[in-house]
């Protein structure tokens, strides 16, 4: 009963709140007003139902928190845990997945392959941003700047000096890494929200420079006729070239996944995670904050640079409009949705966010609306993302009763 009353109030409130924007539409040419009352009705019913869902989810989150505090493990997601930790299950699953990705361009049309290429590009971007945001906890909102640096490196070097894709790929990555360090140095002292805003500003400055410095980047009209990547000097038809780029990006994604997984469990990866958890404690443990942060920036940026070079080679045309803040926010949404710090999570997040709107054409205009809502709802209800990052655990078996006291802190510390 209490809930019903609350929901009615919420529904009335939202009907009031959305009234001018949702109901009234001015037709200034004919001087008439179009009253769209049906929107108001929809809003009222929608928010009425949603408010129940909202409260239910909040209650469930509270219950989940209480259960976690009590030490109970949820059964949900256990099969997934098994798939991830048990090599007997994981290896065949990965093999099937890889095979599916390998045969994909031969089963689907060139158009579908193209969509898959952009989805994989975003996987790469997401994994790169994951190093900076997910692993080392530095919220960077101008990530697309490094993507732009990579793309423009290839475009400019290719159109002015005729350099090929393969020679520019490392240059693009290095250029982006250099920009990462350039950005990293001055912001070393900043953290959290300030860092986020400065990086956002940095991203916008790069875009504005590309837009205004016409003699360098040809301004808003962009650079066209960029060469596709070559395959031992062969001339490929458009559909063959698409397939080729598909395999290229697939290989790049696999390399990225391997590299990020290895990095995550390396010395520097552990340092990043320590930095994410607590900067001061991390410093107190003798970790050099400067190098740790700068490597995170450089490596994260480097991946965006690679992705940028591939992007320029794929579209053969780039302009500054491809590198807006919205793009950064979208990559961030993927990382957040997938689960910050989790390699599988971010890959799944990127694929879901790019492919779902493509195949749900009816919803395509709601795409960005859903993006935004997802980011808010994820933060409120499941801040760890779809896949919470697995932690390395040490199980200390209690062989002798006497060892119990010594074992407990070790096990607790990694829980």
């Amino acid at each position: 009963m209490q809930g019903l009353k609350k929901s009615i109030l919420v529904s009335l409130w939202f009907m009031f709140l959305t009234f001018p924007l949702m109901v009234i539409r001015i037709d200034s040419l004919n001087g008439t007003i179009d009253w769209r009352w049906e929107n108001m009705l929809g809003m009222g019913v929608g928010t009425f139902v949603l408010s129940f869902v909202w409260r239910f989810m909040l209650a469930r989150k509270e219950a989940g928190r209480a259960a976690a505090a009590g030490g109970a493990l949820s059964a949900r997601g256990a099969w997934f845990e098994r798939l991830r930790s048990d090599p007997k299950a994981a290896v065949p699953a990965l093999a099937v997945l890889l095979a599916a990705f390998l045969v994909l361009p031969w089963v689907v049309s060139t158009y579908q392959t193209n969509i898959m290429i952009s989805a994989l590009l975003y996987v790469m971007l997401g994994l790169g941003l994951n190093i900076v945001v997910g692993l080392s906890g530095q919220l960077v909102l101008g990530y697309v700047a490094f993507y732009a640096v990579g793309a423009y490196s290839y475009a400019i070097l290719n159109s002015n000096f005729g350099l090929g894709f393969w020679s520019v790929l490392p240059i693009g990555g290095a250029m982006a890494a250099l920009f990462g360090i350039l950005l990293g140095f001055p912001v070393l002292r900043l953290r959290g929200d300030y860092l986020a805003i400065v990086t956002l500003g940095f991203g916008e400055i790069i875009r504005l420079v590309l837009e205004n410095w016409s003699s360098f980047s040809q301004g808003p009209s962009g650079i066209a006729n960029i060469d596709r990547p070559g395959l031992f000097g062969m001339q490929l038809s458009v559909s063959d070239a698409t397939t080729y780029i598909y395999y290229l990006i697939l290989a790049a994604v696999i390399v990225t996944i391997l590299a990020v997984t290895r990095l995550k469990n390396s010395r520097i990866g552990r340092a990043w995670q320590a930095l994410r958890e607590d900067e001061i404690a991390c410093q107190a443990m003798g970790i050099d904050i400067t190098t740790t942060k700068l490597t995170a920036f450089a490596l994260g940026a480097c991946w965006a640079g690679f992705a940028g070079v591939i992007f320029a080679a794929k579209t053969t045309f780039i302009n500054p409009a491809s590198f807006t803040f919205l793009e950064s926010a979208m990559v961030l949404a993927m990382v957040v949705l997938g689960g910050m710090g989790s390699v599988i999570g971010v890959s799944v997040g990127a694929l879901v966010l790019i492919l779902l709107p493509e195949y749900l054409r009816a919803f395509s205009e709601y795409r960005m609306l859903i993006f935004g809502a997802t980011m808010v709802l994820m933060m409120v209800f499941r801040p760890q993302g779809l896949v919470s990052p697995g932690r390395t655990k040490y199980n200390v078996t209690d062989a002798e009763g006497a060892g119990a006291d010594a074992a407990r802190p070790a096990a607790g510390g990694n829980a």
């Binding site: 924007l21 803040f325 919205l326």
Partner: protein
């Protein structure tokens, strides 16, 4: 030196700066109380301009006089923005009050994207012409060559709103509660201050000021679209940081300084990098003097 040009730029900067200051106040007040950059604040400003546009359009069809339209549209925009601000806080920030600091920021970015697309879907993604509602009275004729009536209105309204806010914070009971909460939320709660109420009030005030700014600038510039909030938001945030985030006089000063910087730089140097200037200024301040002009440097406590 061409003084007429100088004064034009000076008052142009003052006009811009007043708007930045109005929006910056919303950032700085929210930051002062819950230490959160309300990323969606620029969107609230945009919603204010849009609501005013719709109300003005509807009233215009019914044949209201321009001055009445301006006043009613502004009042409706203020009420709606306050409502949006409070709702925003309840949905996107309140559940995250004890979460790690990145969570509310990401949720704020999500909210900002959501609100922009809400406007696109509910109305349009095109630029909409905003009627010029400010009459040109005769007593302003002597200065008409430097600044128009809408500029005078912007400067006067901003000055009055800011003065009212200062008095409110300084002399009322609620203002005192706000200052206490900004200083130390836990302690304020122990002393019987309803922190939730204070936070809601902060959003109400900040959003109302943004609405005032939105209506004024829309009427001055003559057009609005869904994206105006992003750039205005970033610039206002720059102003807030420039003055020292969390400090109310700082936000006002920062807004004016930024307005003048932009106006003179575009007037005397080049207008190509107008937007980049604000970003560059922001980056430089955060690096060299993160506490801003009037802010106090905080020591890191462990």
């Amino acid at each position: 030196m061409d003084w007429q040009y100088f004064w034009e730029l000076f008052f142009g900067g003052l006009t811009r700066g007043s708007i930045y200051a109005l929006i910056a106040l919303g950032y700085t007040m929210v930051y002062g109380i819950i230490e959160l950059i309300n990323f969606a604040h620029g969107e609230v400003y945009m919603l204010g301009a849009f609501t005013a546009l719709i109300v003005a359009g509807a009233l215009g069809i019914y044949g209201f006089p321009a001055v009445a339209i301006l006043i009613i549209a502004a009042a409706v925009a203020v009420i709606y923005c306050a409502a949006y601000g409070v709702t925003l806080e309840k949905i996107a920030y309140k559940p995250l009050r004890d979460a790690p600091r990145l969570s509310p920021l990401i949720s704020a970015i999500g909210m900002s994207i959501f609100l922009q697309n809400y406007v696109i879907l509910a109305q349009t993604s095109d630029f909409m012409p905003f009627p010029n509602l400010v009459p040109q009275p005769e007593f302003l004729e002597p200065i008409a060559h430097i600044m128009g009536a809408s500029e005078v209105l912007i400067i006067v309204t901003s000055a009055v709103s800011m003065a009212a806010l200062t008095l409110f914070i300084k002399y009322t009971r609620m203002g005192k509660a706000m200052r206490a909460t900004a200083q130390n939320r836990k302690m304020a709660m122990l002393l019987g201050i309803d922190a939730d109420k204070v936070i809601s009030l902060t959003f109400v005030i900040g959003s109302s000021l943004a609405a005032v700014g939105g209506v004024l600038i829309a009427s001055h510039v003559g057009q609005v679209n869904f994206a105006i909030g992003f750039i205005a938001g970033i610039k206002a945030f720059t102003a807030a940081v420039l003055g020292g985030i969390g400090s109310i006089p700082g936000a006002m000063l920062g807004g004016l300084v930024l307005g003048w910087c932009e106006s003179f730089a575009t007037g005397y140097i080049s207008s190509d990098y107008e937007d980049a200037l604000a970003f560059a200024l922001l980056v430089l301040i955060l690096i060299f003097r993160p506490s801003g002009i009037l802010g106090k440097a905080k020591t890191q406590k462990v």
